[in-house]
Symmetry: C2
Subunit: 195 residues, 2 copies
């Protein structure tokens, strides 16, 4: 018996899915994937373990659902009217995701554990695939407006922009200067437009 659908409108889940996802991500950040248990999520969220298992038959399934379904990690797909505006909004969201606690801790914890767990690797892959799928409309609108050639590769453009943020923030551990976002978008847009 289903208990209702999540408030995010993104996939079915028990009524309290956001609390469950929050508890899952908190524990992932605090204890890593190895230390995370469905029992721990049940305790922290106050949702019955049986309910959790009914919706997500394994820890991996629960973490996957949390990574793509949690509001705090979610991508708000922008529609500013220009590709430049949309890309700047997307890149700013990546900067916020990686610099503002508590999401930054979750992002880095998930990343760090990727190689230690094929299960988590699958969840992280799903997280990025979901975002890319949702970002496609930004590029479709840009092609329709004539801002981007039809053969442009949205995945390459996103890899360049989001990758620069990951490298700078997580690996190089450098601050993101105020003009970083417009300069990065400007470089990639010029590169994509002039082929």
């Amino acid at each position: 018996m289903r208990e209702g659908v999540s408030g995010t409108g993104r996939g079915a889940g028990p009524r309290r899915s956001q609390e469950i996802f929050e508890a899952t991500l908190d524990l992932l950040a605090a204890q890593g994937y190895e230390g995370l248990t469905v029992e721990g999520v049940a305790e922290r969220s106050g949702v019955n373990k049986t309910t959790l298992y009914r919706w997500w038959p394994s820890k991996g399934a629960l973490v996957s659902a949390a990574l793509t379904g949690a509001g705090r990690l979610g991508l708000r797909v922008p529609d500013t009217g220009t590709l430049r505006g949309d890309l700047e909004a997307i890149v700013r969201q990546v900067v916020d995701l990686l610099t503002a606690p508590p999401t930054s801790a979750v992002a880095v914890a998930a990343l760090g554990a990727v190689t230690h767990s094929p299960d988590l690797a699958r969840s992280v892959r799903g997280f990025f695939a979901d975002r890319l799928a949702r970002e496609r409309e930004v590029f479709e609108r840009a092609v329709a407006r004539g801002e981007l050639p039809p053969d442009a590769d949205p995945v390459l453009l996103i890899d360049l922009l989001a990758g620069a943020v990951w490298l700078r923030v997580v690996l190089r551990q450098q601050p993101v200067e105020p003009d970083f976002v417009p300069r990065a978008v400007d470089t990639v847009l010029r590169g994509a437009a002039t082929r």
Copy 2:
């Protein structure tokens, strides 16, 4: 008393520094930063623990030295005659670093542990700073040849290119298609040149 300098010509170290660095990186990949001990490196490399401590007073200092000094992680600064050729060579080296074992395991292990250890975070920061410093000459030659405007930002260009590889390979866990490197470099070069 010094025992000689390393074969890489990059900083002083005991005669067998490459074996020591290899042992350090192997243990880092296998056991993570927490599990790594100077004793373990001594045992694996066959170099006396006292010698190790004489050169590197702490585990953090040893890992820092290994990350920047080990031949297998080293950047070979290209000089192909064009910025395009140089950047493609640099990006290919990043792809190799992250896809070919055993370096890929080391890269991801170091990355994953960054947030758990301020000590390792410093080493990883040093690793990237060292690479960026060595890559500068590629951009200086490009400016001298008129391929790049003098106000171009080499760090931004490298963050875009290397970041795209990290995101694609480590996080999204996707293969790098044969045309990825030229297409990425092409996009960034056009973006950088036409300002």
